[in-house]
């Protein structure tokens, strides 16, 4: 299925892979790009050298365009933003903040800027600052989340900006893709389903937890800190929530408790004491597959659904 997003970014299928910290490395990003989507390397809290190495590793693994996600709260945000411009990465996506201070440098380097937006106002602002598209991400997604759902955010962002809108949050199969297109999106960003892509290098325990998940198995925590996160409801999450509601625990202590928890789960496989970030769509994810197969399956299902919509109208 080709949409305006495919033309804009020279990709075969209008599907982005989410820039998930400790997950989205060159291995996963290149597999998604080779499968026709846009693979994305997460710069997370890593330094410039790490990112430069991952970009070069991805270039050795794919000839197709790929992107980098900059987490704007990173202590290395300035450095990794410069790497993106120096390396002339095809696309940069941004999250957890306003990317406006970096946009001039990226645009001058020919980098396409696609910020993740949690509200209409932020979508408008980045559109006028030179973003070529936006990712409207609802709170069904894993990791850092906003307040609005995909169902409500996507159409409002579509109404507010005249650049392509990519829907994210809760999309893990062709039904989600088709629904996103009906809301006005011309692309989707998928995170949770790619957690179990064969080329995803996270620990098998993490993948197994996603594969076993039911609909109610994720929750959000951390609102008190100003940046709530969605993750699986495990022992770590329950303890985090307990501390969040304990007034005797300072925000700094709470931040410290959460530090390193995602790495512990994703790389060490401690899915009890680590943070297993994942979206509400975990319950839809049933098997480990190559990234290219995930893309093919999702897009074929979406196309069939969209073609078959006629009978609903009598």
């Amino acid at each position: 299925m080709r949409t305006a997003l495919c033309e804009l970014l020279d990709i075969e299928q209008p599907i982005f892979q989410g820039g998930m910290a400790w997950v989205a490395d060159a291995s996963l990003a290149s597999a998604v790009s080779n499968g026709g989507g846009l693979g994305i390397i997460a710069a997370m809290n890593a330094n410039a050298e790490w990112l430069r190495n991952e970009i070069r590793r991805a270039r050795a693994l794919t000839q197709k365009p790929f992107g980098v996600n900059i987490m704007l709260m990173s202590p290395f945000a300035d450095d990794v933003a410069s790497v993106v411009a120096d390396e002339r990465v095809a696309v940069v996506t941004t999250g957890a903040g306003m990317p406006t201070k970096y946009m001039r440098a990226w645009l001058d380097a020919g980098v396409r800027v696609v910020p993740v937006v949690p509200s209409v106002a932020i979508a408008r602002l980045v559109a006028r600052s030179g973003a070529c598209a936006v990712i409207a991400e609802g709170c069904e997604s894993g990791g850092h989340v906003g307040e609005l759902t995909t169902m409500t955010l996507v159409p409002q962002v579509c109404d507010a900006v005249d650049i392509p809108v990519i829907a994210a949050g809760g999309i893990a199969d062709g039904r989600g893709v088709a629904a996103a297109f009906m809301l006005g999106a011309v692309g989707v960003q998928v995170g949770t389903r790619f957690l179990v892509a064969r080329e995803c290098t996270i620990h098998q325990n993490y993948k197994d937890m996603i594969l076993a998940a039911k609909d109610i198995d994720t929750a959000t925590a951390g609102k008190r800190l100003g940046h709530p996160v969605r993750a699986m409801r495990n022992a770590f999450m329950r303890e985090f929530v307990r501390r969040e509601y304990d007034a005797s625990i300072s925000n700094e202590e709470l931040e410290a408790y959460g530090a390193g928890a995602l790495r512990l789960a994703a790389r060490e496989g401690d899915v009890k004491n680590g943070s297993v970030m994942a979206g509400q769509s975990s319950g839809l994810v049933k098997k480990e597959q190559p990234a290219a197969e995930i893309i093919r399956e999702m897009m074929a299902e979406a196309e069939a659904l969209l073609k078959g919509g006629g009978p609903l109208c009598g």
Binding site: G97, M98, T100, A121, L125, R128, E147, G226
Partner: protein, 77 residues
């Protein structure tokens, strides 16, 4: 007067009394998260028909008033 309109916009946004807002009232006192901050800037842009640079240093209401006045007089924010 620019200050009065800025204070009114802030008051409406936060659901507080504009009389309690002074030029030296800091932004921190409004307890705005990042979404609120952008929404407020957009509301001010609509109120005054201007564009405000999001990278502007805004620590108190006076900073905001100066940015708006500069924009209204044709200078860059």
């Amino acid at each position: 007067m620019v200050f009065d309109k800025v204070a009114q916009t802030l008051a409406e946004f936060k659901g507080i009394d504009a009389a309690g807002i002074a030029p030296e009232t800091t932004f921190a006192q409004f307890e705005l998260d990042s979404l609120d901050r952008v929404q407020l800037i957009m509301n001010l842009e609509e109120t005054f028909g201007i564009q405000i640079d999001m990278e502007s240093r805004i620590e108190c209401v006076r900073d905001l008033v100066e940015i708006v006045e500069k924009q209204l007089s044709g200078g860059a924010a």
